[in-house]
Symmetry: C2
Subunit: 666 residues, 2 copies
């Protein structure tokens, strides 16, 4: 609320805030001439809100800041119902305006990503220590569910490299995939089920923001590390090594590789692998150079598979020690409801693994969804996406699929191939279905080496060195986090890398909330602007006044620090002032513009500060407290302690008060 004080209205002209014209020398602000006429604004007290209003507005801002039900307002019940259904199944919305021209785009895109996903699926299922058909199953059911429930138009659904690797290495700890085959498989479905439950629950409870707690830097590091680990794992297939370590760290892998260099490598395999790897990388390069040729890298994998399979078949290279896929089960996904553990000790294990993999899957899918939504300029509701992804994995877990999510590389291809709606996923799914029904036997002679090459060329893109360089440039601490996660994955294991990424992210948040910045403000000569003296070295100290800005809410987590830090600024300034023989400090102005909120601990800290200053004979002044802050200062009666006359709208007003005071007491 603005108070105009008639008594003062005639005075204080330039005082209309941070205001005073001056082409004069900088010392003008220290001149004591009583300032001429104008309005004086005082700090506004916001209208008092009731408890219910306050509560609901906090809840809304935290969980429903995007007002997901905005459109439903002021509608009839049947319309609301229809809209609600449409919110859950966006297909009911875009489906009505779907046209043939859109289908053309989706068909091309769907065929392209299908040709990309089939060899990848077979390879990724190996990362999860599952038989190849499970990868294909996971590219059939989940995309269909997503097409009905998802709201991203560009995402391509299916198994992805990092989640497969993570799932595999977490499952392997609980059950051996060689010895306890059945148990391992059941645990995989259980984990998938709980991954879906976790995802759907996060979305439904609108806790989607939790995935934002993994920092960008940590994700870049983790993904890069996982990509390197995955590529290293492929050395087994690419070099044709028979006895390979079960560890994923670089040291063990390299030992396996060197250890088998004399007798374990198979030159035919190596020749096939590297020829096709070169071909794939070349295709990738061509696609990158000219966006028009995006289809070259997209169809390169399936071409390689066909050529390599033909080659092996014609020359019977499998007799020469070239390992082949040998068998993929024919037929559509069998039910797996009975395989999910709903009781027993495996439930907790499955839940833990599922929750971790589910969160990582979400992080990846939501990041992809957001990227492409921003490119095509449509809004994406993260929480709704999570419900869609969760449902898709729950259904998946009952139809022999393991965790599916959005794939970076395939989504990019989908986008470039001109997809228009999630129908491209349906097309892909149909192709996968046909593959399962008809042509799986043809994969018998496909060499494992070619799958390894395809995976290596696919995951290379996850090593985002450009992002790492940018992080290095922007924030060194972030870079440390990024490298920590990267080396954690590469030298230890995926779980350790993930743990490092999460810990560093949390540590950063903790530091952020306990150690907010405080800066010393000075006057820019010739103006009434006050700015950080470090950033603006020309900013001048006001004699007898210390001005400190607190750049954060003052909460229990930082209130002691803030109080101590302000006092330290004061002590430092007192030292400087006495060393330079300047007048002693008699005012401390705390600029509170950035202090968005304060709690009881913060109020105690301010009170302690006030008392401490009183003892030293220094007056505490506040400048521009925000609405939440002024309200709380008032209800705790702190404004009365400090004095309402000592709270100002701007730093300039406060400084003017100080200088006029010090003039009065010579």
């Amino acid at each position: 609320m603005v108070h105009r004080e008639p008594a003062e209205a005639a005075a204080a002209a330039a005082a209309g805030g941070e205001t005073s014209i001056s082409t004069q020398p900088p010392s003008s602000s220290q001149q004591a001439a009583p300032p001429p006429a104008v309005l004086v604004y005082k700090v506004g007290y916001p209208p008092r809100r009731s408890l219910a209003t306050e509560f609901t507005s906090t809840l809304r801002e935290t969980f429903f800041h995007d007002s997901p039900l905005k459109q439903c307002k002021d509608q009839s019940v049947s319309t609301k119902l229809q809209m609600g259904l449409q919110l859950l199944f966006p297909v009911l919305g875009w489906g009505r305006t779907y046209s043939l021209s859109m289908f053309k785009g989706d068909l091309v895109a769907g065929l392209t990503i299908a040709s990309l996903c089939i060899p990848q699926d077979i390879g990724y299922s190996k990362l999860a220590y599952l038989d190849p058909e499970y990868g294909l199953y996971s590219s059939f059911v989940p995309p269909l569910i997503y097409a009905a429930m998802g709201s991203s138009k560009d995402i391509a659904i299916g198994p992805v490299a990092v989640v497969s690797l993570l799932l595999g290495s977490l499952l392997q700890k609980e059950a051996d995939h060689d010895k306890d085959r059945e148990e391992y498989l059941r645990l995989a479905f259980t984990a998938t089920f709980f991954a879906g439950i976790t995802q759907a629950a996060l979305g439904f409870l609108r806790l989607g923001f939790l995935i934002d707690f993994l920092s960008h830097a940590a994700i870049v590091g983790f993904m890069g590390g996982a990509a390197v680990t995955i590529a290293l794992q492929q050395l087994k297939y690419v070099l044709g090594i028979r006895s390979f370590t079960k560890e994923t760290d670089i040291v063990s892998v390299m030992e396996s590789v060197w250890g088998s260099v004399r007798h374990g490598w198979n030159w035919q395999t190596v020749a096939i692998a590297f020829t096709f790897l070169a071909f794939l990388l070349l295709a990738k390069y061509i696609g990158k150079r000219n966006k028009k040729y995006f289809w070259v890298p997209a169809i390169a994998p399936v071409t390689s598979v066909i050529l390599a399979t033909l080659f092996v078949y014609l020359f019977r290279a499998d007799k020469q020690g070239v390992q082949i896929v040998n068998k993929i089960k024919k037929g559509v996904n069998p039910s797996s409801v009975h395989k999910i553990y709903f009781t027993g000790p495996f439930v907790a294990k499955g839940f833990k693994i599922g929750a971790v993999c589910g969160m990582i899957g979400l992080t990846e899918a939501v990041a992809i969804g957001r990227t492409f939504a921003a490119m095509k300029d449509y809004q994406l509701d993260g929480n709704k996406e999570m419900v869609a992804l969760g449902t898709m994995n729950i259904v998946g877990s009952m139809t022999s699929c393991y965790i599916a999510t959005g794939s970076f590389s395939r989504s990019a291809v989908n986008f470039m191939a001109g997809c228009r709606t999630p129908v491209s996923n349906v097309v892909m799914s149909t192709v996968v279905l046909l593959t399962l029904l008809l042509i799986t036997p043809l994969f018998k002679y496909t060499p494992n080496a070619i799958l390894g090459s395809i995976i290596i060329s696919a995951v290379i893109g996850l090593v985002d060195y450009e992002a790492a360089i940018l992080i290095w440039k922007v924030d060194k601490m972030d870079f440390v986090a990024c490298m920590g996660a990267f080396f954690g994955v590469v030298f230890k294991s995926v779980e350790i890398g993930l743990l490092i990424a999460v810990s560093i992210s949390f540590a950063k948040i903790l530091v952020q909330v306990t150690r907010p910045r405080t800066v010393l403000l000075g006057n820019l000569p010739g103006t009434t602007i006050y700015r950080n003296t470090e950033q603006y070295p020309h900013a001048r100290h006001v004699p007898g006044v210390v001005i400190v800005r607190v750049d954060s809410a003052i909460y229990f987590s930082n209130s002691n620090y803030v109080r101590e830090r302000i006092l330290r600024w004061l002590t430092d300034e007192e030292d400087r002032v006495s060393a330079e023989g300047l007048p002693r400090i008699s005012f401390l102005v705390v600029e509170m513009s950035p202090v968005i909120d304060i709690d009881t601990s913060g109020i105690h800290a301010l009170e302690d500060l006030y008392k401490n200053l009183q003892k030293r004979g220094i007056q505490l002044l506040l400048s521009n407290p925000g609405s939440a802050v002024i309200e709380k200062l008032q209800s705790s009666k702190l404004t009365e302690h400090i004095g309402n006359g000592h709270i100002f709208l701007t730093v300039a007003d406060a400084v003017r008060f100080c200088t006029s005071k010090s003039m009065q007491e010579p």
Copy 2:
């Protein structure tokens, strides 16, 4: 760095920042007249810091913000050594100037707190399910160590109610104090040892700020709940109930009380207990009414003990069913080094219990230390205090003590009795020693009921209903946290209450970092000040411009929210503008003064925002980015995207740019 642009120096007079005199009507800021002569300040680019400087300054601010070694700078090695020793043992500092007049104060204070602590110690050890002598032991050794190492002048060291209760209920879960007496005792010493290790480690690693993560509100609730629980536990002694529940929740306790109402209560016990409880409360009331009589409540407990013991002895009331202490072991603390578990399964349990109790002990001690330090205006180094408290508990665990810390009630008495230095703790410790050596047999006939009354009257002060009322007034969410912790302790258990307190505190931090406030700014008519339109309803929108202030650093945890929220402000404003038939929005100003920092996620969010706005034909302008922010914007080349000409020192400058632009394109 301030740039003065000669070309513009002749122009833009009022433009000298948020500056323009006006006694004219508010619309002045929308006039397009080119502003007259003056200096133009540009956003300052701070001098580039090297990686090492940046790294060390972050480390220093996080861990050494109080520059603990400041005095040691520029000193000879021997002086440094001496100063280092003195840092560790402050007694070497104040000891040199210790005088007789100081000792007088300390003697009186020491005797007073000794008379208070002896009956309390005996009672508190019962809360921890330990024999009474262990309470006395813990008031002998730890205060001596603290006197040499601690830096608070007012804290009174010894066992305290809440930690005793917490320790007892955590230990009881691992070993039964009745059946496995020896194991229980050993585990108690192990927990004490690890509590000390935890405390010392936190202090030594300068991680003391971690205890700030328990919010004030949560502590108030937890303490209040613990006090109620402790008082309820005393009903056993006060009513003379023989079969009492082992649970601590109010429901079980009340069942025990009602269940034994007919045959279990002992009227002689009840009479003694309530007579003395009335006496103690009256003494407390007198002390509160007139600070001069602070000694009345201080000596009331020991007086009660003497009178009640005499009464029981003379009338042989113990034959009437009045329970008595019966036996306290005579003699000084025996060694207990051999009782601490250093190997085996109890180490982990002891560590867990010790860490929790140690943290709570620290919270209490540091809060007390800070309170009294602020009253007497001296500085307290929290981390140094932790090292002192930790060492004291480590030594304590080896000399048959259980966890000691600072006591709220005794420290207050110590302060009021005029203590000057930690010597008052030494005096108290000496009195306790004499008690152990000489008069423990005299406690034989002390009725348990009187100890119960003393504890009830002591813990009543922990129910800080005034603080709870203030919390209710200041912050409703905080109040919910406070009540959650309170009811958690009272209705469930101390651990559950503590868990609730910690969870709520963390949830608050999470919400704080994920949902920062953003506000819409408007112009205060007649000035060039821009303020929150909600707080200042008179603030006016600038036609065609939306001004949003972001009140937080933009980090990975909130970058998506910030971007979406800014866009929502824009959409809302667009709706309003089109409804009112006003000119369309063509500029979005983001006021960044409160944005202290930004990371790569934040930069991506700004970039996305910029691209999104470009598509809508809206220009993004930034106002007053801080030094860290402008540096990062520049190194990520985002300043080039947005255009250096679109980054301003003040909102007023940015708005002036917008209005002159819209004038050019009619």
